[in-house]
Symmetry: C2
Subunit: 419 residues, 2 copies
């Protein structure tokens, strides 16, 4: 079979220039999340296929790269469907593996457990510009913390990290699944149609209130419910405090403490934030994953069209593995989008060490070579970055290439020490 | 389908304790290799299956996790063999992907190109203690450098890194594929049987010279060749300088410059090394991969039975992708073995920052909660690591767990400030 120079369809090679930015962002993330007490963990990139097909992953479950069974377990002749041929699948996110990890290891972990995961995930999406089938996710999660301290810490940690990377003027939008549901109940939608209503509501920022209204009607919902629903959003906008309005207006549908807790999250974050952003209650925020049970939030960065990360509370997922629910809340940063933004903005990594290239003419050998290497070793031991390489025939081009790699100083070593 | 708490067979969850050591080792590796001018790159974890089945990977090609085709490309009914069902495979090492990467991107890379790769690889080996089917590899490679400067830099970079991690008294064993071949030719073995001879020679450290002799005879080689071969090893041992002896004795079979270059590598490394190790010429070193064309080397750490990493020169591999050979040489560190050694030796990470846990009684909320978080935010901005968590009912157990995680200071916050 012929060898192919290209990466597999939809995945990409990462060159040094991008890799330096990725490494830098990863270092800032690890340090900052570390200062909040999040500890790194890792799970295998493959999971048992049954764990990935449990309906928690929504649309992502249709995009799984599946791994062929091996040895005697594989029987091609009798196989009727995909699941006869595969036993593992590539993870499509880090949340399902985290919950499995926690279920498997809870006895060895502190409570609450604050986890940081950075790792690749795979989705067999239709390839498109800027979107790849292998990409890095970066999640923090707190398991075992029922109070809103989890949300406050997650939002502070994530926003501090974004600030350290250099982002300003961004926004955290926050909402609550229970508020979403109460608003739908108040408007008279039937419980089994909530998800359809929310899918339409989710388009509010694109199609506006009139658009949402029109779609609700054309989806067969009653004019009465649609009117009541949209009027609720209008009244909140014009009221001094949307959350307070909700608390009073929905008091027959919503436990008071839901709105109080959300207010406390917003106030605490505003009072203690360490970077330049705003946190706002957004009753139109939906977030797709069906596993969310409470608070949900999203990052909006002005330089970027859509969301640049998000998360929420999912208190019912550990129970699916263990039979006992454990409170859980997580926040995922849009790592690839952040890297793309930095790359496109010509971002310069701060405080990079001095980079010197020693270029040695061909033929320099023995003691002479040794003394040059010894010089490099000494500089390295003092923290400098020294590249030792043979001089190319086209030295000018070689230096240009090295300057593009960030080398700002050169030392040439010749066989005859004339120059 | 039922959910499984366990990781897939043969792969493991990595808990915070091990992860801290892994992160530390990765940081030292990146910094040290960085000081030698190696730049990080990354390739997708999957490769086209044809690239992985090109006979370069030896036995590893039998251990590939293969990825099921998707959508219309998959036709289970007409599939006769595995290759009808799969298009991608999980990489089993980082060398094949690196060479593909270089072939694909050479125009955008400096020459010589010094690459650092750290990433997972997968092999469907029979699961056994301490050996996993997903494991991290850590490779440095220099492409485009024909002279032995590549070998010298690779060995210095790797040994400096091992020294910084804390290893002492280790050994680099070095040999040359062309010396191996010349010794076999000199002894009268036929060229097509070299590989069989080397497989037997490779056991020398386990079965000794007599064992190798016996296996050669029972494999059907002539007594004359076996005698001549083993006598060569004996004479080298008793001579003052094994490499010099080889150069003289094999002069009809070996270009003089091979031995001269190997001597220069050994002398240069000895003269400029930055850590506590010895480099020795070892004519019994074979290394399995068929792609090696010149120098080969291996790390032996006394605390560890076998090899803890190795590498060599593979000048003919880029040509398989591009039609044009490019000189190439690489060194792979046994990352998992190093981590295992550190874990088992009770290794303590140097200079870890102070870790303080703030434990907040349930019910503390509003302004009081805010002021505690503000305190934590201030300490974090000053470089401290602060965990903020709710106090558990069993505070003693909670503190014990946190002490095991490295927390050495605690601050308790109560609703009523009595305590």
């Amino acid at each position: 079979m012929a060898l192919s120079k290209k990466p597999v369809t939809g995945m990409k090679d990462i060159l040094p220039k991008e890799m330096r930015i990725r490494d830098y962002v990863m270092t800032v993330i690890k340090e900052t999340y570390g200062s909040f007490g999040f500890t790194s963990i890792e799970t295998p990139c493959m999971e048992n296929i049954s764990n990935l097909s449990n309906k928690q992953g929504g649309e992502n479950e249709k995009l799984i790269f599946k791994v062929l069974k091996r040895g005697e377990k594989l029987n091609i002749e009798t196989a009727k469907e995909e699941n006869d041929l595969v036993d593992f699948g590539m993870r499509y996110d880090l949340t399902v593996p985290l919950v499995r990890f926690y279920s498997n290891n809870a006895n060895s972990l502190p409570s609450p457990f604050k986890a940081l995961q950075m790792g690749n995930v795979w989705r067999a999406d239709r390839p498109q510009r800027g979107r790849y089938r292998q990409f890095m996710q970066c999640d923090i999660d707190i398991l075992g913390e029922p109070s809103n301290l989890a949300e406050i810490e997650l939002i502070l940690a994530t926003t501090t990290t974004l600030g350290k990377i250099g982002f300003k003027n961004f926004q955290i939008r926050i909402n609550e699944r229970r508020i979403l549901k109460a608003m739908a109940a108040y408007s008279g939608f039937a419980e089994e149609s909530y998800d359809s209503v929310f899918i339409i509501l989710d388009k509010m920022d694109k199609i506006g209130k009139d658009g949402v209204y029109a779609e609700l009607i054309s989806a067969g919902f009653s004019k009465e419910s649609a009117d009541k629903y949209l009027n609720l959003f209008r009244s909140m906008e014009t009221s001094k405090n949307g959350l307070e309005y909700i608390r009073d207006e929905l008091k027959d549908y919503l436990e008071e403490e839901v709105a109080i807790s959300l207010t406390e999250i917003i106030d605490s974050v505003r009072a203690t934030k360490a970077s330049d952003f705003e946190i706002v209650f957004d009753p139109t925020l939906v977030r797709g994953m069906s596993y969310y049970t409470g608070t949900i939030f999203e990052i909006a960065i002005p330089e970027f069209g859509g969301s640049c990360g998000g998360g929420g509370r999912y208190d019912k997922m550990v129970g699916k593995f263990t039979g006992n629910d454990v409170p859980a809340c997580g926040f995922s940063i849009g790592f690839e989008r952040i890297v793309l933004l930095l790359l496109e903005s010509g971002f310069e990594i701060p405080n990079e060490s001095k980079k010197t290239a020693y270029l040695i003419e061909k033929g320099v050998s023995g003691d002479k070579l040794c003394s040059i290497i010894a010089l490099a070793q000494k500089a390295r031991s003092e923290g400098e970055q020294i590249l030792v390489a043979r001089m190319n025939k086209n030295k000018k081009h070689q230096k240009e290439q090295l300057m593009a790699e960030g080398y700002n100083e050169f030392k040439d070593f010749y066989k005859e020490e004339l120059k």
